[in-house]
């Protein structure tokens, strides 16, 4: 305990010292070197990038070489720390220890509110006009844009087309009843329908729970009302329906779902042991490593029998590039981000190396095969306008973890009333700031 206190109190101490240093620097810089940052970019600048997408870390290193040889004098210093909340804590440590990155990631919405004091307004950047409207939402505030969307991602029930065929499932299930029938057929053919990675709080708390939130007529409004305590989860028909879908996955899933983590889930699915899993297009790379060229598709996640309402995938912007407002090289940092989405090299990296579904009108995916079948389905649903939104960035901080815990408890105890009650209670607690 004393060590823990010491460690994080030390960080605060360093933070205070940093604040003092920062102030001093500003004063020194003011009279002499006015405007060096805003006029011609300084030669020999180092841009520190701190990002969380582990999947693209290697490709980013290659991109760094390409950028540095094209821009003599500019150095990129890229650091990657993966995984949800760990990134947030590491980023805070960076800021409080004085080693502030110039470019970092932000999820937008509520996270934008938390970090707003540190983030530069990028509304005037050339790429803004090319950005898809839906991708601008997370980082928009008061009519300004504060970040560049990294990519688009989508999720649903990824399914193995070959196994479906073997089990004699001819048309893809689009309602809960159809999905139930498909599960029965798969089981009759001796296959396990679902790989449930419910040991992972985020699979439940972030993606699974969002299915219910997104099915509301105006999800943004619902979340705002829930934050204000005007509506409740308990007694909401949509959440009852959603729990039916959750039950279906539990009744037709692998054993011990609560000890199944992300890796195990993807491995179960990719090695052909199960026919479906709730995941997104980010799993493509990992699946390819286990079984290349799998015949895959993405199913919607139906919570009831309204075919039209349920035939949708969940697409959104997982994260955004933002520029540190207090960075000394922020012009260079903006220049780099602009290059990333406008230059031919940068565009090529986004599609062919990062395997991103681009969030820009100006970036084309020439061959759908480069991104794989999962992204293909996500893009097909997106162009058809059949997508539902990602809403967790609007929840209070820490809410997704509590939701994950509440649903895990449900997986174990199967008590709906107490799950909904717990969710409402935690939401009230965390929304109160």
């Amino acid at each position: 305990m004393r060590k823990a206190i010491a460690v994080f109190l030390t960080m605060m101490l360093l933070g205070a010292m940093l604040a003092a240093c920062g102030a001093a620097n500003n004063e020194n810089a003011a009279p002499g070197a006015t405007g060096t940052a805003t006029q011609a970019p300084v030669k020999n600048a180092t841009i520190k990038i701190f990002q969380f997408k582990v999947e693209i870390a290697e490709a980013l290193d290659k991109l760094k070489e390409a950028y540095e040889s094209e821009h003599p004098g500019i150095k990129l210093n890229i650091e990657t720390v993966g995984g949800g909340s760990d990134y947030g804590a590491a980023l805070k440590a960076k800021f409080t220890s004085g080693d502030e990155p110039d470019i970092f990631n932000n999820g937008g919405f509520n996270e934008l509110n938390t970090w707003q004091d540190r983030i530069e307004d990028v509304s005037d950047q050339p790429w803004v006009a090319d950005t898809l409207d839906v991708a601008k939402e997370p980082m928009s505030k008061d009519g300004k844009l504060f970040g560049m969307p990294m990519n688009l991602e989508g999720y649903g029930f990824i399914y193995n087309k070959d196994m479906f065929q073997k089990a004699g499932i001819t048309n893809t299930p689009k309602t809960l009843t159809e999905l139930k029938d498909a599960c029965a057929k798969l089981k009759a053919a001796g296959m396990t329908p679902f790989a449930n990675g419910y040991g992972e709080w985020w699979i439940l708390g972030i993606h699974n729970f969002n299915v219910a939130v997104a099915q509301h007529d105006n999800p943004m409004q619902w979340v705002a009302d829930r934050n204000a305590g005007k509506v409740k989860i308990a007694g909401d028909k949509i959440f009852e329906d959603w729990a039916n879908m959750l039950d279906l996955t539990l009744e037709n899933g692998n054993k011990n779902p609560l000890t199944t983590d992300y890796n195990t889930q993807v491995t179960l699915f990719a090695s052909g042991e199960t026919a479906m899993m709730q995941q997104g297009n980010w799993t493509q790379v990992q699946i390819d490593k286990i079984t290349p060229n799998m015949n895959l598709g993405v199913l919607p996640m139906p919570i009831n029998d309204d075919a039209e309402k349920n035939d949708k995938l969940f697409a959104g912007v997982p994260s955004n590039w933002v520029v540190n407002k207090n960075s000394k090289v922020k012009e260079e940092a903006k220049e780099f981000l602009n290059w990333l989405v406008t230059s031919e090299v940068g565009k090529d990296y986004i599609v062919n190396q990062f395997k991103f579904i681009p969030a820009f009108k100006s970036i084309e995916v020439k061959d759908e095969k480069t991104l794989g079948p999962i992204a293909g389905d996500v893009m097909a649903y997106s162009t058809a306008g059949k997508t539902l939104s990602w809403n967790w960035f609007n929840y209070p901080d820490g809410m997704t973890n509590e939701l994950g815990a509440a649903i895990q408890s449900y997986v174990k105890k199967r008590d709906r009333a107490s799950m909904f009650k717990e969710m409402d209670k935690q939401w009230d607690r965390l929304a109160k700031k």
């Binding site: 004393r2 823990a4 030390t10 804590a89 805070k92 174990k412």
Partner: protein
């Protein structure tokens, strides 16, 4: 003359104590004071605005059930872990003070977990519980291995206990070995001549004679168990459904995940007071049990 020697004294003291004091001030005392300050604010850990809210955080945490649940978990865990770690450490020490051939090798092996960090151990054991135990279950058919390890509150609790005991026992073993070898052999000899059985020798001679080591052992195990963090973070992350969330993890979550650094430090202050009180009582109590030869 007198003033000269006293200033010399001062200089000497400053020389020996100064560096340690300086380091202690910078990395313990000062941050502690800052923590006290932040616990009275609503700082989220990022923003440039820090607003003073007095005792508001302490009122909030008083009604935070998750915090008190984590206290409950920590108390149960500490109770079990302190007893088991000391019992296993003491038993190992008793065995490894006999003249065994592999004595030194075994001592090293049991101490080894201490050299590997808790975070790593957590990951290793997570693999063992999830993959290793499942494989053993398939192979042997024993129901013990087929339990949903880490998957429900009970097994997750015992999993954390197993890993902590396994890590801590080796360290306490070394302390007990050092203390056991210091018990004068003539006491045992005299007792044997008087016809004391080996159990009687254990309870009437060995244990009273190594009471100082037991004090240390209990104190160490108590403080380890109370502040346990890294093993839980990597083994269960507090799950499933927050059932293995220790107080330290709850504080970390509040400060860094919920972005409520002020509330997090307030919890840390409360936790500090509780731990300080308990360890003081424990040291005072076991001190009274110590005897001189």
């Amino acid at each position: 003359m007198k003033s000269h020697s006293s200033s010399r004294e001062w200089l000497l003291q400053a020389l020996f104590v100064g560096p340690a004091l300086l380091v202690f001030t910078i990395i313990v005392a000062l941050p502690f004071a800052l923590g006290l300050y932040y616990s009275l604010t609503d700082w989220n850990g990022v923003s440039e605005k820090v607003q003073w809210i007095g005792l508001g955080n302490f009122r909030t945490l008083a009604s935070d059930e998750g915090f008190w649940d984590s206290f409950g978990f920590t108390a149960r865990f500490t109770l079990v872990a302190v007893v088991l770690t000391n019992a296993v450490g003491f038993a190992l020490a008793l065995i490894l003070t006999r003249y065994l051939k592999l004595r030194n090798v075994l001592r090293t092996i049991f101490f080894l977990p201490n050299v590997i960090g808790g975070l790593l151990l957590g990951f290793i054991w997570q693999f063992i519980f999830v993959k290793g135990f499942a494989a053993m279950g398939n192979w042997t058919g024993l129901s013990f291995f087929e339990l949903p390890w880490l998957g429900d509150a009970t097994t997750a609790f015992w999993a954390v206990v197993i890993v902590s005991v396994w890590t801590g026992a080796g360290y306490l073993m070394v302390i007990y070995i050092a203390s056991l070898t210091n018990v004068p052999a003539d006491l045992y000899e005299a007792a044997s001549i008087d016809g004391a059985s080996s159990l009687q020798r254990l309870f009437k001679i060995t244990i009273p004679m190594i009471m100082p080591a037991i004090t240390i052992g209990l104190f160490l195990a108590l403080s380890w168990s109370f502040k346990t963090f890294d093993v839980i973070l990597s083994l269960t992350r507090g799950g499933p459904y927050n059932s293995t969330q220790s107080v330290a993890l709850n504080i970390y979550t509040e400060a860094f995940q919920n972005n409520q650094l002020g509330l997090g430090t307030a919890k840390a202050i409360v936790f500090f007071l509780v731990v300080a009180l308990i360890t003081m009582v424990q040291v005072w109590f076991t001190k009274r049990q110590e005897v001189e030869a």
